[in-house]
């Protein structure tokens, strides 16, 4: 007997991973939160960690309007000024 595979076989959308940063020293890092209230303390602590222990010059905090939907098109408009973006998903 032969059966067909029921799973998605289309592969992931095409994209090229960004180059890894050699250092975080002096960089601007954005944190895109999914917007759940419970995540605030965690991302606050994460932002402090980046600045105090990894030399990040600036942390940009962003929050999606809807935690179940993709980020609004305008939200990442200044992305070219950041050296890294963290997609922060929490509950």
């Amino acid at each position: 007997m032969e059966i067909l595979d029921p799973t998605h076989e289309g592969g992931a959308p095409a994209f090229v991973p960004a180059q890894r940063l050699a250092t975080l020293e002096g960089t601007t890092v954005a944190i895109l939160s999914n917007g759940k209230k419970g995540t605030k303390a965690f991302f606050d602590a994460f932002a402090s960690e980046l600045v105090e222990h990894h030399g990040v010059a600036e942390v940009v905090r962003l929050t999606k309007a809807n935690y179940s939907a993709p980020a609004e098109p305008g939200l990442l408009g200044r992305a070219e000024r950041w050296q890294a973006l963290v997609a922060g998903v929490g509950d």
């Binding site: 007997m1 032969e2 059966i3 067909l4 595979d5 029921p6 799973t7 998605h8 076989e9 289309g10 959308p13 809807n66 935690y67 179940s68 939907a69 993709p70 509950d91």
Partner: protein, 348 residues
Amino acid sequence: MALNSKRHAVDDLAAAQEFCHSRGWTDGLPIVPPTAEAVAACLDWALLPPDHLVGVEPVRERAITAEKLAVNAVMAGCLPMHFPVAVAAFTAMLAEPFLLHGPTASTGGAAILIVVNGPVRQELAMNAGFNALAASDRASTAIGRAIRLMLCNLLDARPGEVDRSTLGHPGKFSYCLAEDEENSPWLSLAEEHGVPAEISAVTVMAAGAPRQIMNEWTSDPAEILDTFAAEIRANMRHYSIWPGNYAIVVPPQLRAHFHAAGWSKADLRNCLFEKARVRRSDWAECGKGAVVGKEGDREYAALPDPDHLLVIAAGGPAGGFGAVIPPWYGNKSAAVTVAIGACLDCGP
């Protein structure tokens, strides 16, 4: 018919079961082996080519093809004649207002409620009477199960993977019912959403578990709706206060009282819109005093407007029962109605 899915050789029926279970492709119940012949029969019945693009799930950018839906429909036990209903349901779920990723991934544990209207109910021998909300007939059970397997296998909505439900509810096995149009003078749910009576349609809603009510001690429509409203308020107090789509299922015994009094579905909606409200301070009575804050007198309506209430005629003939089906989480996901055979993104 040229099918594109990867093929797996298995020794026999029992081996097919274990092959699928071991890969996380099932809901734990036995499946029907999705052979090429069975899958092609579904596609033939629906007049869909295998590579027909049913839609794209926007968060994960997954293209959903008719062939993959058919593979999962066969596994769930669908006959070819059931398949167009499942395709219409998935089409509705991919509509932007439904926000499919939310209810399938959320800790809130919603399932997809599917309401079927129009002539297809009788063609498929769907039973809108006894036990309407659970295993009422072959088509309802298989179609509802097909949706769950499609979510698991095409969007990885398995427990602990994309499905992060804390508890979930039994509707995740199958949550499909037909409306009892023959025994009701009311407009059907689909007609209320603009689909002509002679056209079959499905409505999907991201839904919590049904909450059953009973009131056999009045024939006054307003009093009956007091009971429904109390159950909605209980959901707002105990689960989520945010407004959204609610559905109520009204069986014949209670429907008779509404019909005798000349109440339409719109009358029920308007009445419940006014009655189904809580104040933030109500939370203090159920252990949530910590979040009442300074807005204790603020009033919250269960429905953003009366049209957010789906009124469904279904259920067995005896008993003053009814059900309230709450939304997944407020109005983040909106109920969507699609005619069977319709294509949402096709050009003229």
